[in-house]
C-alpha cells in the first residue's frame, strides 16, 4: 500500500508558481469576460493583458533567488528571474502594438489575448524549471499558442507560416523527446541537476560517449530549431514574413530568451562536464548561422524578411556566447537580448505602423525597400527613428545593440576565443550593409511613388511604444551599468 504523503504547504513554496498562475488566471479571466460580454473590444483586452503582465512582472521581481518549489520542479534561480522579467517585459512592449489605427484580424479575438497570456506562462515555465517534463510541457504550451497566434493573422501567408512552423516544431518536439529519453536512459533522471551529477560519475565508462554526444545532438536539434540555428533555421524567414510584424519582432526575442535559458541549462551542463566537442559543435553552428544568415539577408528585397534573417544572425551571435559557457558569456546572452529587444521590437513596430492592407509596392511583400524610399522627405521623424533602429542593429555606438555586441565580443575574448570575436566583428560589418540599405533607401533615394504617408497604421499607443523603444535604444549607455551588474549578479548567483 502506498503511504499517504504529507506535504506542508510551506515546503511547496507556492510563491514560485505565482507569476505563471497570474498569467494563466489572467488568460482565464479574459476568456470569462468574453463569455459574459461579446461586444467588448480589443482596447479593453490589451489593457487587461498589460495589467496582468504588470502584476506578473511584479510577482517575478518579488521572487527570491535560488529557490526551488513544488517538489523541486520549480527552479527559481537568477537566470529564471531575469529571463522571466525579459519575457514579460518584451510582452509588455508587444501587446500595445495591437492598438493600431487599422483593424487586423487577430486582435478581434479576445482569445488572442488569452492565448498570449498562456503562451507567456508557458515560456515562464520553461525558464523556471530544470525538469525536462515541465520544460517540454511549457515549451509546447507556448509553441502551440504561438502557432495559433501566427495563423490568426488570417491570410494565406500566415497559414503557410503557421504550418511550416508547426510541422518543424513537431519534428523538433520529437527530437527533444528522444534526447530526453537518452538522457533518462543514461542517468535515470530527468532533472538537469541530477542528470549532471550522475552523468559526471558515468563519464569514464567506456562506450557511453556515443550516447552522451547523441543526446546532446538530439537536444541541440530541438533547441537549434527554437533558436533558429543553422541548419534548423529555415522556418524563421518564412514564419517572420507570414506573421504580423509585431509578432515577428516578438518571436525574434521572447521565445528565444526562453529557449536560451533552457539551452544554457542543458548545454552549459554538457560543457561543464568537459565535453569540448559539444562546445565546438555549437560554436561552429553558431558561426555558420551568423554568417549564412547575414549573407542571405544581404539579398533580401523585403525589410521584414531582411530583419528576419538579421534576427537569425543575431541569434547565432548569441549562441556563440552560449558556447563560451562563462558567466560573462551567459550574462552577455541576456544583456544582448535585453538591448536587442528594444531595438528589434522597435524596428518591427516601425514596420507595423507602415503596414498597408494592400500591397501597393510589391506583389508579394508588405515592406519592400522601395516603400521606404525617400522617407526622410515624407516623414523625417519616422525615417530618423527607423534609421536609429537600423544603426543600432548594425552595432553602431552608442545605440543599444552595440553594447550587447561588445559585451559578447568581450566575453569571447576573455574566454580566449579571439578568432570568434574577429568573426563576429566581420559579420557585423557584413550585416551593416543590409541595415544600411534601408537607411540608404530612406535617406538617399527619392520616393518611388509620390506617397504622402507611409506610416498609415500609426496610433498614439504605438507612438508611445516606439518612442519608448527609441529612448531605450538611444540612451542605452546610461542604463547599461545597472543592467549589467544586475544581470551579472543574478547569473553568477545561479552558478552559470
Amino acid at each position: 500500500m502506498l503511504e499517504p504523503i504529507n506535504v506542508s504547504l510551506e515546503s511547496l513554496n507556492l510563491i514560485t508558481l505565482a507569476p505563471m498562475l497570474i498569467a494563466i488566471a489572467g488568460g482565464l479571466i479574459i476568456l470569462t469576460i468574453d463569455l459574459i460580454n461579446k461586444k467588448l473590444d480589443k482596447t479593453l483586452y490589451v489593457m487587461l493583458t498589460l495589467l496582468i503582465l504588470f502584476i506578473n512582472f511584479g510577482a517575478v521581481l518579488g521572487l527570491n533567488v535560488n529557490e526551488r518549489g513544488f517538489f523541486d520542479v520549480m527552479l527559481i534561480d537568477g537566470i529564471s528571474i531575469v529571463s522571466q522579467l525579459m519575457i514579460i517585459g518584451g510582452s509588455m512592449i508587444f501587446i500595445p502594438l495591437a492598438l493600431t489605427s487599422k483593424r487586423f484580424h487577430e486582435f478581434a479575438y479576445p482569445e488572442f489575448f488569452a492565448l498570449f497570456l498562456f503562451m507567456i506562462a508557458g515560456f515562464q515555465f520553461m525558464a523556471a524549471s530544470d525538469n525536462l517534463i515541465l520544460i517540454f510541457v511549457g515549451l509546447e504550451t507556448a509553441s502551440l499558442a504561438l502557432y495559433t497566434l501566427i495563423a490568426l493573422h488570417n491570410r494565406a501567408n500566415s497559414y503557410e507560416a503557421a504550418v511550416k512552423y508547426f510541422t518543424m516544431g513537431a519534428m523538433a518536439a520529437g527530437f527533444f523527446a528522444m534526447g530526453s529519453a537518452v538522457l533518462y536512459a543514461l542517468t535515470g533522471s530527468i532533472e538537469l541537476y541530477k542528470i549532471a551529477e550522475i552523468m559526471a560519475t558515468r563519464m569514464s565508462e567506456t562506450g557511453l560517449m556515443i550516447a552522451i554526444f547523441g543526446s546532446s545532438i538530439l537536444l541541440l536539434v530541438a533547441f537549434g530549431f527554437k533558436l533558429s540555428l543553422f541548419p534548423f533555421h529555415t522556418w524563421a524567414p518564412d514564419v517572420y514574413e507570414g506573421a504580423s510584424a509585431p509578432l515577428a519582432g516578438y518571436m525574434s526575442v521572447v521565445p528565444k530568451v526562453a529557449a536560451f535559458v533552457v539551452s544554457i541549462r542543458i548545454f552549459g551542463m554538457y560543457i561543464d562536464l568537459g565535453l569540448e566537442w559539444v562546445r565546438w559543435t555549437i560554436l561552429i553552428l553558431a558561426v555558420i548561422t551568423m554568417t549564412l544568415a547575414n549573407v542571405m539577408a544581404l539579398v533580401q528585397d523585403d525589410v521584414k524578411r531582411m530583419l528576419a534573417y538579421s534576427s537569425i544572425s543575431h541569434a547565432g551571435f548569441i549562441m556563440a556566447a552560449l558556447a563560451l559557457d562563462t558567466t560573462e558569456g551567459n550574462t552577455a546572452i541576456f544583456l544582448y537580448y535585453a538591448l536587442f529587444m528594444f531595438t528589434n521590437l522597435g524596428a518591427f513596430a516601425m514596420l507595423w505602423i507602415s503596414r498597408h492592407k494592400v500591397r501597393r509596392f510589391h506583389k508579394r511583400y508588405d515592406h519592400p525597400f522601395e516603400k521606404f524610399a525617400g522617407l526622410i522627405q515624407i516623414m523625417p521623424m519616422g525615417a530618423v527613428i527607423m534609421a536609429i533602429f537600423m544603426l543600432s542593429l548594425a552595432g553602431v555606438p552608442p545605440f543599444s545593440v552595440f553594447w550587447g555586441k561588445i559585451y559578447v565580443m568581450q566575453a569571447a575574448v576573455n574566454a580566449g576565443y579571439i578568432w570568434l570575436a574577429v568573426i563576429m566583428g566581420l559579420n557585423s560589418a557584413v550585416a551593416a550593409y543590409y541595415y544600411l540599405k534601408l537607411v540608404v533607401y530612406m535617406f538617399l533615394k527619392d520616393p518611388v511613388k509620390s506617397v504622402d504617408i507611409v506610416y498609415y497604421n500609426i496610433s498614439k499607443p504605438l507612438m508611445v511604444i516606439i518612442g519608448f523603444a527609441t529612448v531605450a535604444t538611444v540612451t542605452a549607455i546610461l542604463y547599461i551599468q545597472p543592467l549589467v551588474s544586475y544581470l551579472y549578479y543574478m547569473i553568477s548567483a545561479s552558478g552559470y
Partner: protein
C-alpha cells in the same frame, strides 16, 4: 532475455521510420501521422527505461508526451483546416509562396 537495449532499438527504428515519414510525405495530414510515430517511438523508450530502472519518471514523461501529442493534433488540424479553406490543398509542394 529481452533487455533494455531491445526496446530502445525498437524505439530507435520506429523513430527513424517516423523520420522517414516526415521527410517523405508531401501531404500534411500524412506528415502529421509521421510525427505521431516519432513521439510514439519515444514513448516506448521511456516506458522501457522506466521499467528497467524501476522508476516511474519515465512513465510520467511518456504520459506527458501523449498529452502533448494530442494537443499538437488539435492545433495542427485547426491550422490545416484554415489552410485548406484558403488553399484547397494539403500538398506541401503547393505551399511555397514564401521563399528566398
Amino acid at each position: 532475455m529481452i533487455g533494455l537495449s531491445h526496446y530502445l532499438i525498437v524505439s530507435a527504428i520506429i523513430f527513424s521510420i517516423g523520420l522517414i515519414g516526415v521527410l517523405r510525405r508531401r501531404n500534411l495530414l500524412m506528415l502529421f501521422f509521421a510525427t505521431e510515430i516519432m513521439l510514439n517511438a519515444v514513448n516506448i523508450a521511456f516506458a522501457a527505461i522506466s521499467h528497467y530502472y524501476n522508476d516511474l519518471t519515465g512513465q510520467m514523461f511518456a504520459f506527458f508526451i501523449i498529452a502533448i501529442a494530442a494537443s499538437e493534433v488539435a492545433v495542427g488540424l485547426g491550422i490545416l483546416i484554415v489552410l485548406y479553406k484558403k488553399h484547397g490543398s494539403l500538398d506541401l509542394d503547393d505551399l511555397a509562396s514564401m521563399r528566398g
